[in-house]
């Protein structure tokens, strides 16, 4: 796996650029990852990033869009505003998690 340096941290990424080791993610990485995909983080983004991190720790897999919405209480519409076009993937990327595997 290639490594790359983001915000001064050396992290392992897959061929697409997603972090392969969620443990290498720290909170100061998120704004940098966000910037790389054209996002600026607000509190609303952070609420989801923290939810996703917690949920991953508990479930062992990345929450799907529906799960992120139903469990965090943030409406799906809002998720599409915060992380436009591909919310589930973008949330996962910024949170240093693998892409969600579930279909729904």
């Amino acid at each position: 796996m290639p490594t790359t340096t983001i915000a001064g941290h050396e992290v392992e990424v897959n061929e697409e650029g997603f972090l392969t080791k969620p443990d290498q993610w720290t909170e100061d990485l998120a704004p940098e990852l966000a910037k790389l995909i054209g996002l600026e983080l607000t509190d609303a983004h952070w609420q989801l990033i923290r939810f996703l991190r917690e949920d991953y720790k508990a479930q062992g897999e990345t929450a799907t869009l529906r799960r992120a919405s139903t469990q965090s209480g943030v409406p799906v519409k809002e998720l599409f505003v915060l992380f436009p076009k591909k919310p589930a993937k973008k949330m996962a990327y910024v949170s240093g998690l693998p892409k969600p595997k579930g279909c729904v």
Partner: protein, 178 residues
Amino acid sequence: MSEQSATPVVPSFDDESEEGGRKLAIICSKGNLDMAYPGLILANAALGEGVETHLFFTFWGFDIINKATMGDLKFSFVGNTAMHLPGSSMGIHHMLGALPGATAGATAFMKKQIADLDVPEVPEFLELLSASGAHMWACRMSADMNHLTEEDLFEGVEAIISASDFIEMTDGAQLLFI
């Protein structure tokens, strides 16, 4: 085998292809529970990938968006000669599906399996698609045949339109007929 890249590899989220991006049209023509889900799931997946998605509900597929039926779609295995118990290779003769209670039992079983995967029931699924920006259209001829108006349909349905309207508005789209 580690290689160090100076500039970070960034996933291509294709945000730049705003104009003329990918477009998908799904024609839902069946009203069975097991034939409703494939269209809904694929639409959801496409929306999550930023694909402009249109669904056209026609004939029995109209039951998916008819408020009177959408929460009560059924699964019958009559005619499914490949029928077996889900999660097992044990075959079940499809004509047993014609016995009284078989459809109700099979439907309840399938609904439970779907719920166990945390996949929503049809009405809630439609809400999810709506919130994700799906365009839903109802077929004019099916509405007329069933004597239904927009009032009778799920609120997320934008309009009752003709087949030619649908073909026109899905110009250039990839198409799925289910």
